[in-house]
């Protein structure tokens, strides 16, 4: 049996809410690692609900919400819960979109840019390495001594695109949080799995309270899967939000 002991991070333990859309398929993985591996309080929130139940962090999980019809995330963005998520984010609440969750954040306008089909046209499912480009975010502060984070990706449309002005702004405001890199942290086209502009794997909004990333930290948190670098992101977040 796994322990369900609550662990306190940074003095207070945050409450996580995992939004469940029709077609989400990483909702249970995320719930499982947050609760059973990391010991946080976590609840599921059905997309038709209109309350965030006093959660401190809202996670939009991976999957294929609404079958990815029209464009990835385009229909989920209009689910009733999204009005609450947008209000919450605008007031400074922490919102974390993983994979399809990132795509939903782009469609909702909480993050800039769009996601298009992988350059190779293949669905890519493999471990990749991430370089932390901004170590001073609530999601990354305190992750030290790592040249890269080993985290899996699994997507067909993870090719991040934004126009030049948007990219300049992202760079100027240090909003690029993760880039695809090699094991030793070198960034080159060779380690870009999907064609994303500038090897971008994850970005945040200007205020720094909304993060979207294509790789799946919840799939690299349970030690039984042989890699735990993803847990560092959840732990950093829990440590930093009340400090």
């Amino acid at each position: 049996m796994l322990s369900e002991t609550k662990i306190s991070y940074g003095g207070r333990s945050p409450k996580f809410g995992v939004v469940v859309f029709p077609g989400s398929n990483c909702d249970h993985d995320t719930y499982y690692v947050l609760r059973k591996i990391l010991g946080f309080e976590v609840i599921f929130i059905w997309h038709k609900r209109t309350s965030l139940e006093d959660c401190d962090v809202i996670i939009l999980p991976g999957g294929f919400s609404y079958g990815d019809y029209l464009r990835t995330g385009a229909i989920s963005r209009f689910s009733p819960i999204m009005n609450e998520v947008i209000n919450f984010a605008n007031k400074g609440g922490y919102v974390f979109g993983i994979c399809n969750g990132f795509q939903i954040l782009l469609e909702a306008g909480l993050l800039p840019g769009v996601m298009i089909r992988n350059e190779s046209l293949n669905f890519v499912c493999k471990d990749v390495y991430l370089k932390i480009e901004n170590k001073n975010t609530v999601f990354t502060k305190g992750i030290n001594g790592k040249a890269s984070l080993k985290t899996p990706i699994a997507h067909g449309e993870g090719n991040y695109f934004a126009d030049e002005d948007t990219l300049k702004e992202l760079e100027a405001n240090n909003q690029i949080v993760f880039k695809y890199c090699s094991n030793d942290g070198t960034i080159s086209k060779l380690d870009n799995p999907n064609g994303s502009v500038m090897n971008i794997a994850g970005i945040m909004n200007k205020k720094g309270n909304v993060l979207g990333m294509m790789p799946h930290p919840e799939r690299s948190t349970d030690p039984v899967l042989g890699k735990t670098d993803g847990s560092l992101i959840f732990k950093a977040l829990a440590n930093n939000i009340f400090n």
Binding site: R71, V114, R117, L121, F161
Partner: protein, 89 residues
Amino acid sequence: MFKAKVLIKRRKTILDPQGKAVEIGAKHLGLNNIKNTRIDKYIEFDVNTTNKKSAEDEVNDYCKKLLANPIMEDYEFTLTEWTPSEEEV
């Protein structure tokens, strides 16, 4: 009633890997003059009003907010008035 026919096209600057892949098929078929294949979206629906202006407004709203993503896509549409038969209502 109006029949709306919407064409949604990705901007030319946005890579269309699907179009590129399909064009490889054209080359394999020996169709060597085929160039610049782009795969876009065509969407058809009815707008249940007799007022053309309000039909246009509603289609524009639908396109801007949901059917097209203005960051990377442009849209155009036509409206054709038609009267449904009793079975079609």
